[in-house]
Structure formats: C-alpha cells, structure tokens
Amino acid sequence: MSSNPKLTREQVAARAALELHNGDCVNLGWGIPNLVSDYVPTGITVYFHSENGILGMGPRARAGEEDYDVVDAMKVPVTVIPGASFFDQGTAHLMSRGGHLDVSMLGGLQVAENGDFANWKIPGAKGSGGIGGAMDIATGARRLIVCMEHVTKEGAPKLVRRCTYPLTALACVHRVVTDLAVVDVTPEGFVLREVAPGWTPQQVQQQTDARLIVRGDVPEIRLAGR
C-alpha cells in the first residue's frame, strides 16, 4: 500500500468531470456523481438530466430562492438553465432506458470485470432497500461511469471478479473512477488507465480483487478544478 493519500471524494468527482464533453446530456446518480456538476470544465455546457423530469438542470437553488416544485432526484430544490424542459417521469426514463443520454454516472458497491454492476443493496442491510432509477439508468446507459471508493470502509475490494451483491444491471459499466484509479471494462477484463498520484499499478492491484490489465506506462490521474 502506498503511503500517499487516496483521492478525496471531490477529487474523484473532479476526475470524473473530465469525461464530459460540450453539449452532453448527463445523468448523475447519488454519491460521488452528485458532486461532479461542480467540476464541469470551463468553456463547455453540459445538460443534466434528472429522472423526475428535467433536462437542463442547473445548480442547487440558493437559500431563500427555493421552488419546491423544482427538485432533483435527491429531492433538493434546484434551478434550470436556458434550454431546459420539464416532462413526466416516464419520459425521463424513456431517455435513460432508451439510450438517449450521452453519459451516466452512478455510485457503486461492486463492479465486476465483465461489467456487471451492483449499487443498490448490501446483503443483510436492514430496512426495505430501494431501487429508484438506477436499474433503468444503468441498463440503458450509452456510457456508464461508476464513481466510488476503490475499497469498502472495511477494506474489501469493490472491483471484483464477479459481483456478490444483488445486481443493478448486467454488463453495463464502461469505466470506473475511484479514489485510486481509472479503470476501463473491456472484453479482456479491467484495464488500468490511470493511478492516483504516488500510487503504482502494483499497489492498486493489491486493493483490487480482479486482475488489472496493465499496458505500458500508466499515467497519474490529472486533477482538474474549475
């Protein structure tokens, strides 16, 4: 294990934000993805989609300016940007499930080397659990980027050979951005693309259940601010 720090949640979000291109329609899920909107590179405009019926969601509403009829999927009052539209929840998921969004980013519990994805239920957790929009979004994603910690709080790897948690969707993940690495899901398995500053591919592999394919030099993660 490296003596260098892992990335913060904000740094993971900032790295994930580099995946966005001008004009993209993007769904951000709960967890780290929810922070990504703060790090959209300057000079580009991204249209955020919310499962409750917004395309073109803007920043959270300022205190005192909340409209409780304009909330995001986390139920927080937000704003909209020019070009936004409102529609019903079925149309919102027609967009997600039908493959119309450019990029979706979700928080994750486990990603398998075949792209299987688990993010909604920890076996044995108490309470009813809930699915929300994650299955429709993951299943229909044209490009699904999972943003999460590389290992659990207990140190268990979250990039695994096969998921052991209940799945969200089969073979749906394209890229994983963690606090240690950027990893692609390929037909051959996980390919290590970038590592956290000061971490080696070997050190990242030690934190990973599945095999990481390393091709040549693996660059360090560039961190972008606004």
């Binding site: 409750n52 019926g53 409780y68 009829d69 139920k75 019903d88 929840q89 699915i131 969707a169 089969l170």
Partner: protein, 227 residues
C-alpha cells in the same frame, strides 16, 4: 359536461373502500396529493395497496397512512430511508413490498392505461427483480417480462384544471401524475386552481380531461423533505 367538481377533499375520497388499490403521484416532495392523502386518512379506509414511488417522509406525504396502519401492501421503486412509519411496519413484517425499478414502474402503469398487456425490457435482467418473471433473449440481450399495473383509484396533484378536467402541472411536480391519471378506474385530482373551460391552451394541456373523474381544489401542501 359531466359534473366532476367536488367541494371538499373529504367528499372526493368518501367512497374509497377498504382493500382498494391506489396510485399516489409525487416525487421528492413535489406533486404529492397531500390534501387527498390526509382526507383518506380521516376517512379511515384500511387494508389499502399503495402504488407509489416512495413511502413518505416522517408523517409527510404517505407517512400518515402508514402511521395509522391504513396500508397493507406497497408496490414502489424507492420506499426511502426517511419513510419511518413504513420502515417500522416493514421491519415488523406487517406490510408487503414489491420493489419495481422506477422507469419500469412508469411503463407498467402506462401499459395498464394504454391497452398493453405486458412488455419486455432489459431492465432487471440478472437482478432480484427478475425472480419469478419470464425471461426472453432478444437479439442477444436478456429481457424480463413485466405485466401492466392498474388501480381502482389514482390520487394525483396538478397545478390547474379547467372544469372539464384538462390538467397542467407545475415543473417537476408533473412526475408520476400524468402516467397514473391514465391507468385508474377513478382518477381524483387535487389542484391549486380551477379555471373556466377554454382558458387553457389546447397545445399545452398535459392531461386531457378524458382521464379525469373528480376534481377538487385545495391549497397545495409542500412537505420539505430530506432524501
């Protein structure tokens, strides 16, 4: 013109029987028919099946119905950790729950209203949602069969209705409401304002009046909720 206007929310929900299956619109605090829900609680019908995205926050939205033991069975996408009364009943084994992916919930409801007798989607394949469901491989993709989801009543919230029942919604308060409106035997809408027939733009009407059976005016209640 059929008379659809009710004077009070209590009158509008007066005949909902125990055991009824009810859609409840709303998401994230927006577009919940809170006045109808509270009237239903006062009315006392029990053993209800609730079809809804989530199960309330504290006593808010559907919370009050769980608190008072009105609901026996739930079909939902995300009951929610803040649905305290629901979670207590669920932990005690006093309530049954079917979890449905959110977009599939929308499509199953729409199907019931659209004369569609079921459909296949890739959503849920390989997950616990597919347990007990028919699967079919289409073009190499695993898909799961979903049957339509109808209800006897829909409780929905809109912004404005004309006296016929044409509806417009406000921003994200639209959410599940237009979908549920088409799939219930009796759709009851709570609105902020009732306007004369002809005063809504025919191109801007989101729910045409044919889907609406009862209209009642009530000042909207927003429960400010946390996720």
């Amino acid at each position: 013109m059929k008379q659809k206007l009710y004077d009070t929310v209590d009158a509008a929900v007066g005949d909902v029987p125990s055991g009824a299956r009810i859609f409840f619109g709303g998401f994230g605090g927006a577009g919940f028919p809170n006045n109808l829900i509270q009237a239903l609680d006062r009315q006392g019908a029990s053993e209800l099946t609730a079809i809804t995205n989530n199960c309330g926050s504290g006593d808010g939205e559907l919370g009050i119905l769980f608190k008072h033991g009105r609901i026996r069975s739930v079909i939902a996408s995300f009951p929610g950790p803040h649905a305290r009364h629901f979670q207590e009943l669920y932990a005690a084994g006093k309530i049954s729950l079917e979890l449905v992916p959110q977009g599939i919930l929308c499509e199953r409801i729409r199907a019931a209203g659209a004369g569609i007798y079921g459909f296949y989607a890739a959503v849920g394949a390989g997950t616990p949602v597919a347990d007990g469901r028919e699967e079919r491989v289409v073009g190499g993709r695993r898909t799961v069969f979903y049957e339509p989801l109808a209800a006897e009543f829909a409780f929905i919230k809109a912004w404005k209705a004309d006296e016929l029942g044409n509806l417009i919604y406000r921003k994200t308060a639209r959410n599940f409401n237009p979908l549920m409106a088409v799939a219930a035997k009796t759709t009851i809408v709570e609105v902020e304002e009732v306007v004369p027939v002809g005063s809504l733009d025919p191109e801007a009407i989101v729910t045409p009046f044919v889907f609406i059976h009862r209209i009642v005016r009530a000042k909207g209640i927003h429960n400010v909720v946390k996720s």
